[in-house]
Amino acid sequence: MTEHGQLHDAAPAAVPDDPAIVMRGVTKIFGPDPEAALALLREGRSKADVQAETGHVVGLDNVSLDIARGQIYVVMGLSGSGKSTLIRHVNRLIEPTAGEIVVNGEKVLDMTMAQLGDFRRNRIAMVFQKFGLLPHRSVIDNVAYGLETRGVGRAERLEKAAHWIGIVGLSGYETSRPRQLSGGQQQRVGLARALAMDTDILLMDEAFSALDPLIRSGMQEQLLELQSSLNKTILFITHDFDEALKIGNRIAVLKDGAVQQVGRPEEIVLNPANAHIEEFVRDVNKARAIHIRTVMEEGAFEPCEMAMPADARCEDVLPCFDQHEWVGVLDGTGRQIGRVRARQVIKALARYAPSNGQA
């Protein structure tokens, strides 16, 4: 459990001035004449209004995000809220109706087709909800696919592919066909294919949503473990708030194509911006969302026998109270900055339950 806590610790090495991905006022309207619908939207009409009046679907409504390097940035929303549309703008699989997108300092929308191909081959990799594996290729050739399009020689790409197949735990399946694998295994192939690209940025569109709960949970842990050593910028899409809380360093909540709230997981849990988000929060496992840093007793105390990083979640620290009265809280350098005990954690979990208000 201690390791699990540390996974979150390693993540935000953010340089605030140099975000990996910036979206500014990105708006997408699906339909033959988006300009008319755009004008209506700009007048402040809702997605439903615009659709009723013009027959055009608002995919994204004025989305602005700054995604710092080395983070797992989660975009969360119900089905149809525009999550897939959003993530596809980052590598320009979808052209926006309006707005600006900057990735690694480059304006994606100004790229020529050739530059865009280059950008997709070298700067960014993607994992898909429906896996998107090539059914006529073996597992290893699927994993090597991105490297192949990049022009990497056969021997080198197969070696790299074999390495990543090993890392995602599929050694022995190199020559299998995708259809011979289970859903979870297929998505591991999808993940290995993206990781083999060795890009700084990884896009994951509901990568685990099609998997069974147990397998999904295993994949989440594996992703966190990988991230602790890889330190990529991961834009992760999900419709599952629990998943968002578990893996996100930051979460943006999307509804009807518009961003409702952006914040650290516990900020969203503790202060939901509106009724829509509160509905998510109500059913959520708060122990997973709240960092011990937010509930600790700050100050210089006697070093405790047991200690955890400040980014560990209440969920991680709870089992420790079985043996210890106090658990120390460490900052990034390993210095103890405070301590927690069971009562504080229980209070935090109880206090924010909406049923008893802000008691």
């Binding site: 191909g117 280059d118 950008f119 997709r120 998107g132 991105g146 399009t149 896009l203």
Partner: protein, 289 residues
């Protein structure tokens, strides 16, 4: 009776004169243009006739075995081909097979690019589809007569007519197969920075291959269906035997030659279908979602 509102005679004369003009002024050029086709057909025909019968049978029985790993299809192929030999139809069968193979090869070379083009542009599809409808419904004699006028009776008009008749299903199925490739796979490929040509050859065509093979299968069948008509304009082969049987009221001759065509059809149909199934199994299209 429908009232005669316009005089169709000048119109008809214009068409007839136009064709006559083409024959007089372009006949030589058109014949030269079709010459490579004739070369192809003659080459295949010579090859097949020169091939010993036992080698031919062994080759197709082997092909059937490789496709199915089972003795049933090879046995069917063996019996079908032995029938042709026993009935003294071997040489005619080779001539017919040559026409079918030449027409199918040409149809593949022409139809697959057209199908690819259709699959990529809605406008092209809207333009080509009615042409295909026309090719499939227009009685073949309608275009057979002008081709005979241009090229004279013989193998070239027979080959051209067979190609025109047999191409549409392959064009349609190529288009259909390419468009039905799982969009999730296509998008994934796009996200990895492939060009549209890379996607066509690396993803779309391999995944559409079972459908394209079904098109090739239909093309071979339609080409075989054309042999009797083709023999009327000098293609020879099994169709010519059928024609002679009818002409001389020799029912047996027509019947045996007709059964010979059926035997050839079964051999080629089952073999191409078996290969289609094998490829389908290998890539498992439809199972990966």
């Amino acid at each position: 009776m429908f009232p005669e509102l316009i005089d169709t005679r000048p119109l008809r004369r214009a068409v007839d004169d136009g064709l006559g003009w083409v024959v007089r002024n372009w006949g030589g050029e058109l014949e030269a243009a079709a010459y490579p086709l004739l070369m192809l057909l003659n080459w295949i025909e010579r090859l097949l006739i020169a091939t010993p019968w036992w080698l031919f049978i062994a080759f197709f029985v082997g092909l059937a075995f490789v496709a199915t790993r089972n003795w049933r299809l090879p046995l069917v192929v063996f019996l079908g081909l032995i029938f042709l030999g026993l009935m003294q139809l071997w040489r005619d069968a080779m001539i017919t097979t040559a026409l079918m193979v030449a027409a199918t090869l040409t149809a593949i070379v022409v139809s697959i690019p057209v199908g690819v083009w259709m699959s990529r542009s809605e406008r092209v599809r809207q333009m080509v589809t009615p042409v295909l409808d026309l090719m499939q419904t227009l009685p073949s004699f309608v275009y057979l007569i002008p081709t005979v006028m241009i090229f004279g009776p013989g193998k070239i008009p027979a080959l051209l007519a067979t190609i025109v008749y047999a191409s549409p299903p392959l064009i349609r199925l190529t288009d259909l197969g390419l468009r039905n490739v799982d969009p999730a796979v296509m998008e994934a490929s796009r996200a990895f920075g492939t060009s549209s040509t890379q996607r066509l050859f690396g993803v779309q065509i391999p995944l559409a291959l079972p459908t394209i093979l079904a098109g090739i299968n239909q093309t071979t069948m339609m080409a075989l269906a054309m042999v009797v008509i083709a023999s009327m304009i000098g293609a020879g082969g099994l169709g010519y035997q059928v024609l002679q049987g009818i002409g001389r009221l020799e029912v047996s001759r027509g019947l045996f030659a007709g059964l010979g065509i059926v035997a050839l059809a079964i051999v080629f149909d089952r073999i191409t279908q078996a290969y289609g199934r094998r490829i389908q199994e290998r890539i498992g299209v439809g199972e990966v979602r």
